[in-house]
Symmetry: C2
């Protein structure tokens, strides 16, 4: 009902899309959207019936998602949604800070292509324009998210290192999996980070690899700090110790 037959919806744009890959995308989205509780078991037959494909592509998709770190696997016991502790998410930002710093260093050492330079300069200009307003609405935050992604993605590409890109992807797949992870950045936070972007770009252009590395490391680490601060604030605010026990179990 809800899902059209997969075979007939092949779109010409994406040439080789196997059922396994499509199914992996759908399950991944569902996990990241929080449709499954952490630790929840994913049964093959159930997914098979829900998604309208046989168990074979389901198994393949689950294995792929486990390799991405989204699922836990135990032989003969199947797959379960991996539950990330707060500490693991914070650690992932530390790892990502190191990896992005290395990417910035590589980019500085190896130089930017014309396309990459254009993307970065576009991202910087777009950000300048957005921040010139002096405040941010929710839509603006989404927009800045795209700008931010474009900036970092161009640097990953400029690093010319496939393994580094893969590892950064792994780090990124951890954080969004936690639902309570939407940090409402303040305007000043965003402005400061956008200023970081300018400096990092300057360092890369100047082929100053050491400065590019240090700046990027601090840049990502500051996101981690904001995250921790935000989580502490929420923990203290939303569930004060007194009201906790009085709430119905």
């Amino acid at each position: 009902m809800e899902n059209a037959p997969t075979a007939s919806q092949d779109e010409g744009l994406t040439p080789n899309r196997t059922r396994s890959l499509s199914v992996a995308d759908r399950i991944r989205s569902a996990i990241l959207c929080g449709d499954f509780a952490p630790g929840e078991k994913l049964r093959e037959v159930h997914l098979s019936e829900t998604l309208g494909v046989s168990r074979t592509p389901i198994r393949s998709a689950l294995q792929a998602l486990a390799a991405e770190g989204l699922l836990d696997y135990a032989p003969n016991r199947g797959y379960a949604v991996r539950s990330f502790q707060t500490a693991e998410i914070v650690d992932a930002y530390e790892i990502r800070a190191m990896m992005e710093a290395l990417a910035a260093r590589f980019a500085a050492e190896r130089g930017l292509s014309d396309a990459e330079r254009a993307v970065i300069e576009g991202a910087l200009a777009d950000g300048d324009r957005l921040l010139a307003k002096g405040s941010l609405h929710d839509d603006d935050r989404v927009t800045y998210g795209s700008i931010n992604f474009a900036f970092h993605d161009a640097i990953h590409s400029a690093a010319r290192c496939r393994m580094l890109g893969e590892m950064i992807r792994l780090c990124q797949s951890v954080a969004p999996s936690s639902h309570r992870n939407i940090v409402a950045f303040e305007f000043d936070d965003v402005r400061r980070r956008h200023d970081d972007h300018h400096r990092i770009y300057d360092a890369i252009l100047a082929r100053d690899s050491y400065r590019a590395e240090i700046l990027m490391r601090e840049h990502v680490a500051s996101v981690r700090s904001s995250l921790v601060r935000s989580m502490l604030k929420r923990a203290a605010g939303s569930t004060p110790p007194s009201s906790r026990l009085s709430a119905a179990g």
Copy 2:
């Protein structure tokens, strides 16, 4: 013939070993031993006949090895042995240097368990004993390899970060896959690196996370430098430019 029926060789020590996992281990070993040429295609039916299992566990194993980075995959075109350029191997050491440095920092921040401390002190003492001889035979180099592994593995464990451990594993799976990668370390190299181990342990014990990180980063980076030097020397020595064209194609 050569392979006993997998089902009957279940050993009590390893409880849940599926055919997929066993097959993945065998193919992984074959790749790391260089039984397949870089870029060589791995056909499912062929492997299925060779290893005496059906295509199902073969496909699962190939997907796992692709996730580990040992194989390349393209939809409808199967799997091929990933060929690592020299630059990629060198880059992997840079990545590993960052990751191991972070692991050392985490270990210093979070402390060592009694077991981890015992392993490290054992590795340091064993290394001291080996190096006291003043020279190394080939057997000694193998022995020191085990000592080195024990030291680093204990620190990975002390980092208390699963994702970090997984990423370091990924880095390590790259380097050995290149055959021309056996660096014949000189005695002085090994002695210097063992001294690094002592200093790193001291820093971790002293909870000096900054020093532990810096020392470990330099420690791994020095291996990369030795590797590069060794490759340059071999390139210059074994195939001098003059003899290159005279050799039969």
